[in-house]
Protein backbone atom coordinates (compact mmCIF):
# COMPACT_ATOMS: atom_id res chain seq x y z
CA UNK A 1 0.00 0.00 0.00
CA UNK A 2 1.44 3.34 -1.04
CA UNK A 3 0.34 6.30 0.95
CA UNK A 4 0.81 9.89 -0.03
CA UNK A 5 -0.57 11.27 3.20
CA UNK A 6 2.73 10.95 5.07
CA UNK A 7 5.81 12.52 3.51
CA UNK A 8 9.37 11.57 4.33
CA UNK A 9 9.86 14.45 6.79
CA UNK A 10 6.81 13.37 8.75
CA UNK A 11 7.86 9.73 8.68
CA UNK A 12 11.32 10.71 9.89
CA UNK A 13 9.80 12.63 12.78
CA UNK A 14 7.43 9.75 13.66
CA UNK A 15 10.38 7.37 13.89
CA UNK A 16 12.58 9.72 15.90
CA UNK A 17 9.70 10.44 18.30
CA UNK A 18 9.45 6.79 19.39
CA UNK A 19 10.10 6.70 23.15
CA UNK A 20 13.01 4.76 24.58
CA UNK A 21 11.46 1.92 26.61
CA UNK A 22 13.91 2.27 29.50
CA UNK A 23 14.58 6.00 29.74
CA UNK A 24 11.61 8.15 30.66
CA UNK A 25 10.85 11.13 28.37
CA UNK A 26 13.76 10.39 26.04
CA UNK A 27 13.07 9.51 22.40
CA UNK A 28 15.23 7.31 20.20
CA UNK A 29 15.93 10.42 18.12
CA UNK A 30 17.28 12.12 21.26
CA UNK A 31 19.53 9.13 21.90
CA UNK A 32 21.01 9.27 18.42
CA UNK A 33 20.33 5.63 17.58
CA UNK A 34 18.35 6.32 14.38
CA UNK A 35 20.85 6.06 11.53
CA UNK A 36 18.53 6.72 8.62
CA UNK A 37 14.89 6.80 7.54
CA UNK A 38 14.05 6.25 3.87
CA UNK A 39 11.07 5.34 1.74
CA UNK A 40 11.40 2.70 -0.96
CA UNK A 41 8.07 2.23 -2.72
CA UNK A 42 5.62 1.13 -0.03
CA UNK A 43 8.40 0.25 2.41
CA UNK A 44 9.81 2.42 5.15
CA UNK A 45 13.47 1.51 5.55
CA UNK A 46 14.74 2.44 9.00
CA UNK A 47 18.30 1.75 10.11
CA UNK A 48 18.92 1.66 13.86
CA UNK A 49 22.05 1.09 15.91
CA UNK A 50 22.14 -0.57 19.35
CA UNK A 51 23.60 1.28 22.31
CA UNK A 52 25.23 -1.80 23.90
CA UNK A 53 25.68 -5.20 22.21
CA UNK A 54 23.41 -6.82 24.74
CA UNK A 55 20.97 -3.97 25.37
CA UNK A 56 17.64 -5.75 25.95
CA UNK A 57 15.72 -2.68 24.79
CA UNK A 58 16.94 -3.07 21.20
CA UNK A 59 14.23 -5.53 20.24
CA UNK A 60 11.50 -3.51 21.93
CA UNK A 61 12.68 -0.41 20.04
CA UNK A 62 12.67 -2.30 16.75
CA UNK A 63 9.09 -3.44 17.38
CA UNK A 64 7.97 0.06 18.42
CA UNK A 65 9.50 1.59 15.28
CA UNK A 66 7.84 -1.10 13.15
CA UNK A 67 4.47 -0.24 14.76
CA UNK A 68 5.01 3.49 14.14
CA UNK A 69 5.78 3.11 10.43
CA UNK A 70 3.02 0.52 9.96
CA UNK A 71 0.51 2.92 11.52
CA UNK A 72 1.69 5.51 9.00
CA UNK A 73 0.77 3.12 6.18
CA UNK A 74 4.15 1.65 5.30
CA UNK A 75 5.54 -1.84 5.22
CA UNK A 76 8.19 -1.90 7.95
CA UNK A 77 11.75 -2.75 6.96
CA UNK A 78 13.77 -2.24 10.13
CA UNK A 79 17.50 -2.95 10.02
CA UNK A 80 20.08 -2.89 12.78
CA UNK A 81 23.70 -2.02 12.09
CA UNK A 82 26.65 -2.16 14.48
CA UNK A 83 29.12 -0.05 12.55
CA UNK A 84 30.15 2.62 13.21
CA UNK A 85 29.64 1.85 16.88
CA UNK A 86 27.19 4.10 18.70
CA UNK A 87 28.70 6.77 20.91
CA UNK A 88 27.08 8.73 23.72
CA UNK A 89 28.40 11.81 21.86
CA UNK A 90 25.44 11.24 19.50
CA UNK A 91 22.90 12.07 22.22
CA UNK A 92 21.29 15.37 21.19
CA UNK A 93 21.20 18.54 23.30
CA UNK A 94 17.47 18.02 23.77
CA UNK A 95 18.18 14.46 24.88
CA UNK A 96 20.73 15.69 27.42
CA UNK A 97 18.25 18.21 28.81
CA UNK A 98 15.58 15.56 29.09
CA UNK A 99 17.90 13.11 30.82
CA UNK A 100 18.80 15.77 33.36
CA UNK A 101 15.12 16.54 33.91
CA UNK A 102 14.53 12.83 34.54
CA UNK A 103 17.23 12.81 37.24
CA UNK A 104 19.93 11.20 35.09
CA UNK A 105 23.21 13.02 34.51
CA UNK A 106 24.05 13.10 30.78
CA UNK A 107 27.39 11.60 29.72
CA UNK A 108 30.68 13.51 29.43
CA UNK A 109 32.47 13.37 26.05
CA UNK A 110 33.30 9.78 25.03
CA UNK A 111 36.89 8.71 25.69
CA UNK A 112 39.28 8.27 22.77
CA UNK A 113 39.94 4.56 22.11
CA UNK A 114 42.85 3.33 24.18
CA UNK A 115 43.05 6.48 26.26
CA UNK A 116 42.28 6.17 29.95
CA UNK A 117 40.02 9.11 30.72
CA UNK A 118 40.75 11.45 33.60
CA UNK A 119 37.55 11.28 35.57
CA UNK A 120 35.95 14.19 37.34
CA UNK A 121 33.01 13.67 39.67
CA UNK A 122 29.83 13.99 37.63
CA UNK A 123 27.38 16.77 38.47
CA UNK A 124 24.26 15.96 40.47
CA UNK A 125 21.26 16.27 38.10
CA UNK A 126 19.15 17.76 40.90
CA UNK A 127 21.30 20.37 42.65
CA UNK A 128 24.19 20.65 40.17
CA UNK A 129 26.85 20.00 42.81
CA UNK A 130 30.00 18.19 41.77
CA UNK A 131 30.49 16.88 45.29
CA UNK A 132 29.32 13.44 44.23
CA UNK A 133 30.77 9.98 44.44
CA UNK A 134 30.54 6.87 42.35
CA UNK A 135 28.65 4.08 44.14
CA UNK A 136 28.80 1.51 41.37
CA UNK A 137 30.13 1.51 37.82
CA UNK A 138 26.96 -0.31 36.83
CA UNK A 139 23.38 0.88 37.25
CA UNK A 140 19.86 -0.35 36.57
CA UNK A 141 20.48 -0.43 32.81
CA UNK A 142 23.59 -1.18 30.78
CA UNK A 143 24.05 2.50 29.90
CA UNK A 144 24.15 3.98 33.41
CA UNK A 145 26.27 4.04 36.58
CA UNK A 146 25.09 4.72 40.15
CA UNK A 147 26.23 7.80 42.07
CA UNK A 148 25.30 9.69 45.20
CA UNK A 149 25.41 13.46 45.79
CA UNK A 150 27.11 14.45 49.04
CA UNK A 151 25.65 17.96 48.86
CA UNK A 152 21.95 17.14 48.63
CA UNK A 153 22.44 13.47 49.70
CA UNK A 154 20.29 12.16 46.83
CA UNK A 155 21.32 9.03 44.96
CA UNK A 156 21.18 9.36 41.18
CA UNK A 157 22.21 7.63 37.98
CA UNK A 158 24.57 8.98 35.35
CA UNK A 159 24.95 7.97 31.72
CA UNK A 160 28.31 6.27 31.10
CA UNK A 161 30.43 7.79 28.37
CA UNK A 162 30.76 5.25 25.54
Amino acid sequence: MVTDTVDLDTLDRLVRDVDDPELPHVTIGDLGIVRSVDVDGDRAVVVLTPTYSGCPATEQIRDDVADAVTDAGFVADIRVTLSPAWSTDWITERGRTRLRQAGITPPPPAPEPGVVPVEFPVACPRCGSRRTRLVSQFGATACKASHVCTSCTEPFEAFKAL
Binding site: Y52, S53, G54, L82, P113, V135, Q137, F138, S146
Partner: protein
Protein backbone atom coordinates in the same frame (compact mmCIF):
# COMPACT_ATOMS: atom_id res chain seq x y z
CA UNK B 1 33.29 -26.61 8.83
CA UNK B 2 34.75 -23.54 7.15
CA UNK B 3 37.62 -21.95 9.09
CA UNK B 4 35.74 -18.66 9.36
CA UNK B 5 32.81 -20.43 11.04
CA UNK B 6 35.06 -22.15 13.59
CA UNK B 7 36.93 -18.91 14.23
CA UNK B 8 33.70 -16.96 14.76
CA UNK B 9 32.33 -19.66 17.07
CA UNK B 10 35.52 -19.56 19.13
CA UNK B 11 34.99 -15.85 19.73
CA UNK B 12 31.28 -16.31 20.41
CA UNK B 13 31.82 -19.25 22.77
CA UNK B 14 34.45 -17.30 24.72
CA UNK B 15 31.85 -14.60 25.34
CA UNK B 16 28.84 -16.84 26.01
CA UNK B 17 30.54 -19.31 28.35
CA UNK B 18 32.08 -16.52 30.42
CA UNK B 19 28.66 -14.84 30.59
CA UNK B 20 27.06 -18.07 31.81
CA UNK B 21 29.67 -18.42 34.56
CA UNK B 22 29.07 -14.81 35.64
CA UNK B 23 25.33 -15.36 35.79
CA UNK B 24 25.86 -18.23 38.23
CA UNK B 25 27.30 -15.69 40.68
CA UNK B 26 24.46 -13.19 40.43
CA UNK B 27 22.64 -12.98 43.80
CA UNK B 28 25.78 -14.45 45.44
CA UNK B 29 28.12 -11.45 44.98
CA UNK B 30 29.47 -9.71 48.10
CA UNK B 31 27.27 -6.64 47.56
CA UNK B 32 24.17 -5.86 45.54
CA UNK B 33 26.02 -3.39 43.31
CA UNK B 34 28.28 -6.25 42.31
CA UNK B 35 25.29 -8.40 41.38
CA UNK B 36 24.32 -5.62 38.98
CA UNK B 37 27.88 -5.25 37.73
CA UNK B 38 28.32 -8.95 36.99
CA UNK B 39 24.95 -9.19 35.25
CA UNK B 40 25.82 -6.11 33.17
CA UNK B 41 29.13 -7.68 32.15
CA UNK B 42 27.28 -10.86 31.23
CA UNK B 43 24.70 -8.91 29.23
CA UNK B 44 27.39 -7.28 27.10
CA UNK B 45 29.08 -10.64 26.56
CA UNK B 46 25.80 -12.30 25.56
CA UNK B 47 25.20 -9.45 23.12
CA UNK B 48 28.61 -10.04 21.57
CA UNK B 49 27.97 -13.79 21.39
CA UNK B 50 24.59 -13.26 19.70
CA UNK B 51 26.11 -11.12 16.95
CA UNK B 52 28.91 -13.64 16.42
CA UNK B 53 26.60 -16.68 16.36
CA UNK B 54 24.26 -14.97 13.91
CA UNK B 55 27.22 -14.29 11.65
CA UNK B 56 28.53 -17.86 11.98
CA UNK B 57 25.11 -19.08 10.79
CA UNK B 58 25.22 -16.77 7.77
CA UNK B 59 28.72 -17.90 6.84
CA UNK B 60 27.88 -21.56 7.36
CA UNK B 61 24.88 -21.16 5.06
CA UNK B 62 21.86 -23.44 4.69
CA UNK B 63 22.18 -26.87 6.30
CA UNK B 64 20.92 -30.16 4.80
CA UNK B 65 17.28 -29.33 5.61
CA UNK B 66 17.61 -25.85 4.07
CA UNK B 67 17.50 -23.92 7.34
CA UNK B 68 20.17 -21.44 8.43
CA UNK B 69 21.53 -21.97 11.94
CA UNK B 70 20.72 -19.17 14.34
CA UNK B 71 22.12 -17.99 17.65
CA UNK B 72 19.86 -20.37 19.60
CA UNK B 73 21.13 -23.35 17.65
CA UNK B 74 24.74 -22.60 18.57
CA UNK B 75 23.94 -21.85 22.22
CA UNK B 76 21.47 -24.62 22.97
CA UNK B 77 21.88 -27.44 20.48
CA UNK B 78 25.59 -28.06 20.34
CA UNK B 79 27.17 -30.63 22.62
CA UNK B 80 30.25 -30.22 24.79
CA UNK B 81 32.83 -31.22 22.16
CA UNK B 82 31.38 -28.67 19.72
CA UNK B 83 32.07 -25.71 22.01
CA UNK B 84 35.41 -24.11 21.21
CA UNK B 85 36.03 -21.58 23.98
CA UNK B 86 39.39 -21.28 25.73
CA UNK B 87 39.41 -23.18 29.04
CA UNK B 88 39.96 -20.04 31.14
CA UNK B 89 36.37 -18.82 30.71
CA UNK B 90 34.72 -22.13 31.66
CA UNK B 91 36.56 -22.59 34.97
CA UNK B 92 34.22 -22.99 37.95
CA UNK B 93 33.60 -19.85 39.99
CA UNK B 94 35.18 -20.84 43.30
CA UNK B 95 35.42 -17.81 45.60
CA UNK B 96 34.91 -14.20 44.56
CA UNK B 97 38.65 -13.70 44.03
CA UNK B 98 38.57 -16.44 41.41
CA UNK B 99 35.57 -14.86 39.67
CA UNK B 100 37.38 -11.52 39.55
CA UNK B 101 40.75 -13.03 38.66
CA UNK B 102 39.27 -14.94 35.73
CA UNK B 103 37.43 -11.83 34.56
CA UNK B 104 40.51 -9.64 34.85
CA UNK B 105 42.83 -12.04 33.01
CA UNK B 106 40.18 -12.35 30.29
CA UNK B 107 39.43 -8.62 29.99
CA UNK B 108 43.13 -7.71 29.83
CA UNK B 109 43.28 -10.04 26.80
CA UNK B 110 39.93 -9.21 25.21
CA UNK B 111 40.53 -5.44 25.10
CA UNK B 112 43.67 -5.47 22.93
CA UNK B 113 42.32 -8.42 20.94
CA UNK B 114 39.11 -6.61 20.01
CA UNK B 115 41.16 -3.48 19.34
CA UNK B 116 43.22 -5.46 16.84
CA UNK B 117 40.03 -6.93 15.35
CA UNK B 118 38.60 -3.49 14.57
CA UNK B 119 40.92 -3.51 11.54
CA UNK B 120 39.74 -6.94 10.38
CA UNK B 121 39.14 -7.12 6.63
CA UNK B 122 35.82 -8.82 7.46
CA UNK B 123 33.24 -6.02 7.80
CA UNK B 124 31.00 -7.92 10.24
CA UNK B 125 33.79 -9.02 12.56
CA UNK B 126 35.25 -5.52 12.58
CA UNK B 127 31.81 -4.07 13.41
CA UNK B 128 31.35 -6.51 16.30
CA UNK B 129 34.85 -5.62 17.50
CA UNK B 130 34.03 -1.90 17.31
CA UNK B 131 31.18 -2.41 19.80
CA UNK B 132 33.02 -4.93 21.94
CA UNK B 133 36.13 -2.81 22.38
CA UNK B 134 34.19 -0.04 24.10
CA UNK B 135 32.36 -2.46 26.37
CA UNK B 136 35.49 -4.42 27.23
CA UNK B 137 37.39 -1.26 28.18
CA UNK B 138 34.71 -0.65 30.80
CA UNK B 139 34.80 -4.28 31.97
CA UNK B 140 38.55 -4.11 32.41
CA UNK B 141 38.27 -0.98 34.56
CA UNK B 142 35.89 -2.89 36.81
CA UNK B 143 37.85 -6.13 37.11
CA UNK B 144 41.12 -4.19 37.47
CA UNK B 145 39.72 -2.16 40.36
CA UNK B 146 38.61 -5.32 42.18
CA UNK B 147 41.98 -7.02 41.75
CA UNK B 148 43.65 -3.96 43.30
CA UNK B 149 41.04 -3.70 46.06
CA UNK B 150 41.34 -7.35 47.04
CA UNK B 151 45.08 -7.69 46.50
CA UNK B 152 45.90 -4.53 48.42
CA UNK B 153 43.17 -5.21 50.97
CA UNK B 154 43.21 -7.37 54.05
CA UNK B 155 45.56 -10.27 54.66
CA UNK B 156 42.69 -12.64 53.86
CA UNK B 157 41.67 -10.94 50.61
CA UNK B 158 45.32 -10.62 49.55
CA UNK B 159 45.92 -14.33 50.05
CA UNK B 160 42.78 -15.31 48.20
CA UNK B 161 43.50 -12.96 45.28
CA UNK B 162 47.06 -14.28 44.99
CA UNK B 163 45.81 -17.88 45.14
CA UNK B 164 43.29 -17.16 42.42
CA UNK B 165 45.86 -15.61 40.06
CA UNK B 166 48.28 -18.47 40.71
CA UNK B 167 45.55 -21.05 40.07
CA UNK B 168 44.28 -19.37 36.89
CA UNK B 169 47.69 -18.67 35.40
CA UNK B 170 48.09 -22.03 33.69
CA UNK B 171 44.96 -21.32 31.61
CA UNK B 172 46.24 -18.04 30.14
CA UNK B 173 48.62 -19.54 27.58
CA UNK B 174 45.76 -20.87 25.47
CA UNK B 175 44.47 -17.34 24.85
CA UNK B 176 47.46 -16.63 22.62
CA UNK B 177 47.46 -19.85 20.62
CA UNK B 178 46.46 -20.13 16.99
CA UNK B 179 46.19 -23.28 14.91
CA UNK B 180 45.99 -24.23 11.24
CA UNK B 181 42.28 -23.34 11.22
CA UNK B 182 43.21 -19.73 11.88
CA UNK B 183 46.51 -19.28 10.09
CA UNK B 184 44.97 -18.46 6.72
CA UNK B 185 42.46 -16.11 8.28
CA UNK B 186 45.30 -14.33 10.07
CA UNK B 187 47.32 -14.11 6.85
CA UNK B 188 44.28 -12.66 5.06
CA UNK B 189 43.74 -10.04 7.79
CA UNK B 190 40.33 -11.51 8.69
CA UNK B 191 41.49 -12.63 12.13
CA UNK B 192 43.98 -10.89 14.39
CA UNK B 193 46.90 -13.01 15.56
CA UNK B 194 46.35 -13.53 19.30
CA UNK B 195 50.11 -13.82 19.81
CA UNK B 196 50.33 -10.19 18.73
CA UNK B 197 48.49 -8.95 21.82
CA UNK B 198 50.45 -11.02 24.34
CA UNK B 199 52.87 -8.24 25.18
CA UNK B 200 50.08 -5.75 25.85
CA UNK B 201 48.21 -8.31 27.96
CA UNK B 202 51.33 -9.04 29.94
CA UNK B 203 52.11 -5.41 30.66
CA UNK B 204 48.50 -4.76 31.79
CA UNK B 205 48.63 -7.79 34.09
CA UNK B 206 52.10 -6.96 35.41
CA UNK B 207 51.16 -3.36 36.21
CA UNK B 208 47.87 -4.33 37.85
CA UNK B 209 49.39 -7.06 40.01
CA UNK B 210 52.14 -4.66 41.11
CA UNK B 211 49.53 -2.07 42.04
CA UNK B 212 47.65 -4.78 43.93
CA UNK B 213 50.83 -5.85 45.81
CA UNK B 214 50.50 -9.29 44.19
CA UNK B 215 53.25 -11.44 42.70
CA UNK B 216 53.34 -12.18 39.01
CA UNK B 217 53.28 -16.00 38.67
CA UNK B 218 56.06 -17.78 36.79
CA UNK B 219 55.12 -19.26 33.43
CA UNK B 220 54.92 -23.03 33.83
CA UNK B 221 53.19 -25.70 31.75
CA UNK B 222 49.98 -24.36 30.24
CA UNK B 223 46.60 -26.10 29.91
CA UNK B 224 45.08 -26.12 26.46
CA UNK B 225 42.41 -27.84 24.40
CA UNK B 226 39.19 -25.89 24.93
CA UNK B 227 39.43 -24.27 21.52
CA UNK B 228 39.60 -27.76 20.02
CA UNK B 229 36.51 -28.92 21.93
CA UNK B 230 38.24 -30.62 24.87
CA UNK B 231 36.76 -29.38 28.12
CA UNK B 232 36.91 -29.99 31.84
CA UNK B 233 34.28 -31.98 33.70
CA UNK B 234 32.59 -28.92 35.18
CA UNK B 235 31.77 -27.68 31.69
CA UNK B 236 29.12 -30.38 31.23
CA UNK B 237 27.24 -29.02 34.25
CA UNK B 238 27.44 -25.50 32.86
CA UNK B 239 25.98 -26.66 29.54
CA UNK B 240 23.37 -28.78 31.28
CA UNK B 241 21.99 -25.79 33.13
CA UNK B 242 22.25 -23.45 30.16
CA UNK B 243 20.56 -25.81 27.71
CA UNK B 244 17.97 -27.68 29.77
CA UNK B 245 14.99 -25.43 29.12
CA UNK B 246 15.60 -25.13 25.38
CA UNK B 247 16.00 -28.89 25.08
CA UNK B 248 13.03 -29.78 27.30
CA UNK B 249 10.73 -27.45 25.34
CA UNK B 250 12.03 -27.26 21.75
CA UNK B 251 10.78 -24.24 19.84
CA UNK B 252 9.11 -22.67 22.88
CA UNK B 253 8.71 -18.89 22.75
CA UNK B 254 7.89 -16.34 25.43
Amino acid sequence: MAPLVTYTLRQGDRALVLAQRLLEVVTHAPEIEEDMALSNLALDLIGQARALYTYAGEVEGPTADGSVRDEDHYAYWRDQHEFVNPLLVELPNGDFAQVIGRQFLHDAYALPYWQAMTSSTDATLSAVAGKAVKETAYHLRHSHSWVVRLGDGTEESHTRMQDAIDELWRYTGELFESDEIEHELIAAGVAADPAGVREQWHSTVEATLAEATLDLPDDGPMQSGGRAGRHGESFSYLLGEMQVVARAHPGATW
